[in-house]
């Protein structure tokens, strides 16, 4: 008799604990499931707006380089993937967007990297007309010193517009460097490494396009 009572005594708190734990687990699961449910729903709902926003941002950047009047195709769909680590300084495939007007090639837009900036990679987007002239260049991402190297941003200085309309020819090779090295581009006070890196990267990208020629439009 007494023995039985003892056993009950030890069992009861154990059962209570189990019940408590179960209740807590159930509660937590319910909230987690509700939370996940809401997240899935919102994810579903925002999926499309996010994609349109991404496209819009990309298109806005491209249109800064190449006015939308100059082409009539959907260039976000008219792309080709290229891999050229030697010219574009990235092992990943680079998407080349192709602008056309009435089916005639107008310009190519692609991103490239300058690996030798003052601190880290500089990501650059450039648009090049079919005849090899530069439509425009923009720096998308960089970690250069604020106040020195960051003048490559259009927000800080017009320096980057110096590329507009330039063409890479055999006889103007010397132009593609900063003034200090005898070239045609201004260096920044206190920073020559950054502009040098950007010029070199743009020049390499142009060489890549010259190399491939009309193949890029196919």
């Amino acid at each position: 008799m007494t023995e039985e009572k003892d056993i009950q005594k030890t069992i009861q708190p154990k059962q209570e604990l189990w019940q408590k734990m179960l209740r807590a687990a159930r509660l937590l699961s319910i909230y987690t499931v509700i939370g996940v449910g809401i997240l899935l729903l919102v994810k579903q709902l925002t999926n499309e707006p996010i994609q349109t926003a991404e496209k819009q941002v990309l298109l806005d950047t491209i249109n800064q380089l190449l006015p939308s009047k100059q082409y009539d195709n959907n260039l976000l769909k008219d792309t080709i993937e290229v891999t050229a680590p030697k010219y574009l300084h990235t092992r990943d495939p680079v998407t080349v967007y192709r602008a056309r007007n009435n089916g005639e090639p107008v310009a190519l837009i692609l991103t490239t990297h300058a690996p030798d900036g003052y601190s880290g990679d500089i990501k650059i987007m450039l648009a090049v007309y079919e005849d090899g002239r530069i439509a425009g260049v923009r720096v998308l991402k960089h970690k250069e010193t604020p106040g020195l190297g960051d003048k490559i941003e259009l927000k800080k200085s017009n320096w980057i517009l110096g590329f507009d309309g330039l063409k890479l020819r055999d006889d103007n090779n010397a132009l593609w460097s900063v003034r200090k090295d005898g070239g045609g581009f201004d260096q920044f006070t206190g920073a020559t490494i950054t502009p040098r890196a950007v010029i070199k990267a743009v020049k390499n990208a142009l060489m890549f396009i010259q190399d491939k020629g009309a193949k890029l439009y196919e």
Partner: protein, 343 residues
Amino acid sequence: MATIPHTSPFTHNASSVRKVMLQVQIAAFPALMTHIYFFGFGITIQWTLAVLTLIIVETALLKLRNRPVAPYIFDLSGLITVTGIVFCIPPESPWWVIVSGVTFALIFGKHLYGGLGYNPFNPAMLGYAFLLISFPAELTQWTLPSEVSGHHISFIESFHLIFTGQSLNLSFDQLTGATPLDEVKTALAMGVPVTTTLNSTNFNGEQIPYGWAWINVAFFIGGLWMLYKRAIRWQYPVGFLGSLALIAYVFHWIDPDTYAPASFHLLTGGIMLAAFFIITDPVTSSTTPLGRFIYAAGIAVLVYVIRNWGAFPDGIAFGILIMNMFVPLIDQYTQPRVVGYRR
């Protein structure tokens, strides 16, 4: 005045501070002369601007803090601070550079901590670091020594450059350029070995660059005089210059193309200024003999690291400020053992 407690430097009264500070000012005189000889009178204009700023800011802050103005202004410690900054900035930099630098140094480096004696960071270096970070473009454009630019800048020209930013005859780009440290660093980034840069025209084919080297020599002479007068402790310059020379020598010996020789490191930038005039500041450096040595050596290591692998051409300001933070720790572990006491 008597109610204000003093911490280190354990001064008896304002006049003893003044005596040391005066000696420091005198010791900086040869360097000032050399500076004028190579770079023109820009530095005298900067110095005047700095002193005017010092008087205005100091008076305003002492008034705000309800402290008597006269004894604090005449202890000359503020003068050392502004002199330190003036020697660090390019002599033809615009007027607002020195004005904002001195203001920042006094407010954030000294008075916010409670005035002289309570500041953990060297005010001069804090002001200089503020300028380096805030106005990097202005701070990298040094006036070229007249030997290099072939033009000696007159007082009027300096005045024009500082207050209007415009030069009278030559363009600003012709008169200014990168410092030797900057030059070497930029060239290295382009893949040009140090030896080639050091033998290029800007250095007149000498192993040590003109102008800057002679100013460092002048500081060295002034420093020796201060050591003789016992205005500063020997552990600072010996620890600092010795460590820097040793590290530079070892690295140069390993790879002379990447690492400049020790003589270059010792005689460029603000090394001698730092060794004798800045790191010797008793308030912000270690107070024990061994501590002073460790403190100085630590700065040397940091300067070398920043010069070779950092984002800035020179590392004096950051090296000193970082070691300032370690001073309480260094002091704690280097307390001289009391006789008869065993750990």
